[in-house]
Symmetry: C2
Subunit: 368 residues, 2 copies
C-alpha cells in the first residue's frame, strides 16, 4: 500500500530524486563510534569557528527571537549592496545558498527546460532542477575544471540555466576572467548563467571573474554566495543571490516570507565587520594548503590545485576504505564515490593541528 | 527591456503571484515613525518572549554554529515522535511552517492539480500551490469558520490537496473532532488533507480534532505545526509536518539538505522542556482574551470567538484608518483589507500592559 500511494500522489518526476549526502555530522559520528574528539574535514566548514564579532551579535539578538525576522534582511541587504556598489533590490537572501538555488529553480525552470552543469559538481543544481521538472545536461570537467567550451557546445533553444560552480565543488578549480568573458559573449539572451561563488573569497587574489560587472551590465547573470564558509556561519544558514533587477523581481515572486532567521541576519552582519578574523582564516588556509600538498606528494598521492578551503586528493586506492579507517580514528572526510571518483576524497583544510592529525592517520593507514 | 526579460524568463504562472504581507516588523516601524517603544500585536508572536530554557539552549549552541546542522534534526525529531507516539520517520522539519507548506506543494502538486482552501485563510497555501502550477479553489468561511460541507461539495477527480487551517488564521475559529471525522469519511483516497495546526496548542481544552489518529490509520493526512507561536521561536524558524510514512517518504525526496539551523534545533528542544513557561503563556492568553472581549464589547465592536492567541475584531469602521492611527502611537496590528474584511483587524493577545495600551489607544481613536 505504501508504494502504491507514493506512486499515485508524488509530483511527476521526483520519484528518482536522491537525497543529498552531507558530510557526516560530528554528533552522528560521536553516537555511532563512541568517539568524542572528532576532527571534521568533510563539509568545508571554517576551522577557526565563527568570528567573535558574529558570535557577539548573535548572542545579543537571542532575547528577541520570539519575534519574526524582517523578511528581506534589510540591514544585511544594504550592507552587501554597498559592498558591490549596487542597489539593495539587486540582492536577495535565503536559508543558505541551497535555498537560493531552489529559489532560482522555482523562479525560472519550466517543465522540459534544459539546464547545463559540470560533472562532477555541486549536486543541488541537479536536484532543484529536477524538482521543477527540468532536464539536466552534464558536461564532464576537463582536467578537474569546468569546461566552458564544452558547455557552449551543449547550449540549445531549450537551455534555460547554466550553472558554473566557481571555484568548483568538489575539485576546487576555477575558470578565469578572460575565459568567462569569452564564454558570456556566446550565451544567448534567453538563457541565465548562475555563478555559484560559495568559495570565491578564497580565490580573490587570482584573475577571478568579475561577475558583478555582468550584473551591472544587466546580463542574465546571478551570483550566488554564502556565509557558510569563510564567514563560519554554516550552522545558522544564510546565503544570497546578486543579480539585475529584472531577474531579482522574479525571485522575489517566489521567495518565502521569512527565509533568513534573526540569528543568522545578526551573525552575518557581525561577521562582515571582522576583517581581522577573515584575514586569519585566509592565512591558516594558505599554510594548511601548502602543508597538505607537500604531505600528499610525499605519500605519492596527487591532488587538484585548489582555490578553496578544501583539496580533492587522489589516494590511488579505494577512498571508501580509507574514509572508514579515518572515521574509526575520529576523522571525517568526504569520499569521492558520489562523484564517480572512487579513489579520491574531498578534504577540508583544517587548523594545523587537525591537518597534522589527518596526515599522521593517513600515514598509518597506508602502511597497514 | 526589464519587463520583456521578466516575461520571457519567469516560470509559467508565477507572474501574478503576490508577495506575502507580514505584520510590520518593529525595526521598520522604529525606522519609519521614529518610535522606540513599540507594541507589536500584528504577528501573533509570544508576548512573554522565549522560554528561559530555550534561550539557555540557544546560547549554549552558538560556539558550534560554524558547523552545518544535522539535516533531519534527529534529536528534535525523536522527541516530537515520542510525544505523538509515532516513529521518528513520520516527522519532518522545515525552516518554519511556511517552508513545510512549500515542501508539501513541491512534493505533491502537479500542473493543473486542484487544491481547496477556505476563504479567508492563511495565504501561503495559495502561493505555494501556484508556484507549483496548481489551481486554487476557495470556499468561503461560514460564520468565520471553515465550511467542511462546502469543501466536500468542491472535491473532484482533480483535487490533490485540501488545506484545513485549524484554528483558522485570521479568524481564530476551529472545526471540531466530530465534524472532521464526518468530513474525512467523504474524502477520496487520492486526495491529501493538510491540517495546519499552527495554533493548536491554544485550543487543546476543546473537542479539538485528534488528527494524529488519522495519521496512525495511514490516511493521506499531514499535520503541520510550528514553534513560532506558543513556543516563542518565530525568529529562529522551525516548523514540522507529521504524517504516514508513505507521504513522508515523498516529502523527504524534495527536502533541502539543511532546512533547520542549529540554533533553532537547540531552541526547540529547550522549549519543549519548559512546561512552566507554556502554562504561563496559556494563562496570560486566557486573561488577555477575556479582557479584550469585554473591552471590544464596551466599544460596540464585535469579534469572532477565538481558540488562538489572536482575535479578529470588527471595528465597524475603516480598519486601515485605525491601524494607521495606532501605528502613530507605536502599536502594530494587522488590518483586514488583505482578507477582504475592510472593517476588521487581527490583533494578537499581548501581555495585560500591552492589551491595556491598545484599548486606551483605541478608545482615544474612536472618539476623534
Amino acid at each position: 500500500m505504501e508504494n502504491k500511494a507514493e506512486i499515485n500522489l508524488a509530483r511527476k518526476g521526483i520519484e528518482k530524486l536522491i537525497a543529498y549526502v552531507p558530510g557526516k555530522p560530528v554528533e552522528e559520528v560521536a553516537r555511532e563510534y563512541g568517539i568524542t574528539e572528532i576532527v571534521k574535514l568533510a563539509s568545508n566548514e571554517n576551522p577557526l569557528g565563527t568570528s567573535p564579532k558574529a558570535l557577539a551579535a548573535m548572542q545579543q539578538i537571542l532575547p528577541s527571537v520570539y519575534m519574526y525576522p524582517e523578511g528581506s534582511s534589510p540591514a544585511l541587504r544594504e550592507r552587501i549592496a554597498a559592498n558591490y556598489g549596487i542597489e539593495s533590490d539587486m540582492v536577495i537572501f535565503g536559508n543558505g545558498a541551497d535555498n537560493i538555488l531552489l529559489l532560482i529553480a522555482q523562479a525560472f525552470i519550466n517543465e522540459g527546460d534544459e539546464v547545463i552543469i559540470g560533472d562532477p559538481t555541486f549536486s543541488v543544481y541537479e536536484t532543484t532542477t529536477r524538482i521543477m521538472g527540468g532536464r539536466v545536461l552534464k558536461v564532464p570537467l576537463k582536467n578537474f575544471t569546468y569546461d566552458l567550451a564544452g558547455i557552449k557546445g551543449k547550449i540549445s533553444e531549450k537551455t534555460k540555466i547554466i550553472y558554473i560552480c566557481n571555484p568548483n565543488n568538489p575539485t576546487g578549480t576555477i575558470v578565469y576572467q578572460d575565459e568567462v568573458a569569452e564564454f558570456m559573449a556566446s550565451v544567448p539572451e534567453n538563457c541565465i548563467v548562475v555563478f555559484d561563488e560559495a568559495y570565491a573569497e578564497f580565490a580573490q587574489k587570482t584573475n577571478f571573474p568579475q561577475t558583478i560587472q555582468l550584473v551591472k551590465e544587466q546580463r542574465n547573470v546571478l551570483i550566488v554566495r554564502t556565509f557558510s564558509k569563510v564567514y563560519g556561519l554554516a550552522g545558522v544558514r544564510v546565503g544570497y543571490a546578486v543579480g539585475p533587477k529584472h531577474l531579482l523581481g522574479v525571485l522575489n515572486k517566489v521567495v518565502e516570507p521569512f527565509p533568513v532567521n534573526k540569528v543568522a541576519q545578526a551573525g552575518a552582519l557581525g561577521a562582515l565587520e571582522d576583517q581581522e578574523f577573515l584575514d586569519e582564516v585566509m592565512r591558516v588556509t594558505e599554510v594548511g594548503k601548502k602543508y597538505l600538498y607537500q604531505e600528499f606528494t610525499k605519500m605519492k598521492m596527487t591532488y587538484a590545485p585548489t582555490f578553496t578551503n578544501f583539496v580533492l586528493v587522489d589516494f590511488k586506492r579505494d577512498a571508501e576504505v580509507i574514509t572508514k579507517k579515518l572515521l574509526e580514528r575520529g576523522i571525517i572526510i568526504r569520499p569521492g564515490q558520489i562523484w564517480q571518483l572512487p579513489t579520491c576524497a574531498r578534504i577540508t583544510i583544517g587548523t594545523m593541528a587537525q591537518n597534522e592529525k589527518l596526515i599522521a592517520a593517513l600515514k598509518e593507514i597506508i602502511k597497514e
